[in-house]
Symmetry: C2
Subunit: 154 residues, 2 copies
DNA sequence: CTTGCCCTTGACGTCAATGTGAGGTTTTAG
DNA sequence: CTAAAACCTCACATTGACGTCAAGGGCAAG
């Protein structure tokens, strides 16, 4: 299969495939005229590479991991890498969850304009940011609050 | 508080704080001599901004979200943004989970050299990548497998 | 043969959140 | 008063995974 076909089946650009090759992640054969030729299995491989890229692994790391996929072996260094990348991913998931929760709080506040949930009446979920406070010594948090409240529905 | 103090307390660089200001995310007061002065609340705000950055939200999006944090209001557009970013984050978490599972499979294989888990004997978790296959028509997947297996412990 | 599509290499562009350094001012500590 | 530390404004550099354009070669169909 030539590069265009692989690109289509794997859902990436030909530029990406050439980049992967440049990074040593993919080593297609060449026809006498110089055109790249890939085995069927390259589609799966590209999908795996993409999955790793999407997860934020840099190409250099993927390069160290791929032989381990092929052989089923993991040198101590590769093993360490596997473990550290796994924990990096776990940490990233936690960060995402935290941000998602922050968004959820915002959505929640915007969704509940009843008195007990009214932004103007409840404890602020975040400290209000008021640049003018910088000039005062200890601004009272509940002073100068916006007294209006609005419900914006979906 | 001046920029260095905020940077220290929020765990970011002063360069980052100036960048946030440039992007409109932070609007500190200025002393007559031109130095930035932040309220206490800026520390919390910076942490929130960082959380969003870590989650992959671009500054332009954060800029649209912050007023909503302050006022407790969400315009229809802001609401849409909240929802779409939330789903983006959810999708990103799924991608991370998939990559983590791929790593787990690799760790698993490397960890179990017993016959039934031996890479040389079991069904391959991924199709073997063999560039030479490109020249043949339909390579038999189990041909030319590496017969050795190794256990690398943690 | 030629039209047209796919392929090649090479090289510069992009985007975003910073890093870094120059060159100068302000604040603080002694 | 003075020296160090912290601050200021430019403005260019970095990183990584590509996008994009240029200038050409290969190959099947009509």
């Amino acid at each position: 299969m030539r590069i265009g076909e692989i690109a289509h089946q794997a859902g990436v650009s030909t530029r990406a495939l050439r980049y992967y090759e440049e990074q040593g992640l993919l080593t297609p054969e060449r026809t006498p005229s110089g055109q790249r030729t890939y085995p069927e299995s390259a589609v799966e491989r590209v999908r795996l590479i993409q999955q790793f890229f999407t997860a934020g692994l840099p190409s250099r790391t993927i390069l160290q991991l791929l032989p381990c996929v092929d052989t089923g072996h993991a040198s101590p260094k590769a093993f360490e890498l596997l473990a550290s990348e796994r924990s990096r991913i776990t940490a990233a998931m936690a960060d995402l969850a935290a941000a998602r929760d922050a968004l959820d709080r915002m959505i929640d506040i915007a969704n509940h304009p009843t008195p007990e949930h009214c932004p103007a009446l409840r404890e602020p979920a975040w400290a209000p940011y008021n640049p003018a406070d910088a000039t005062r010594t200890a601004p009272h948090p509940t002073a100068a609050r916006d007294a209006s409240a609005t419900l914006i529905t979906m």
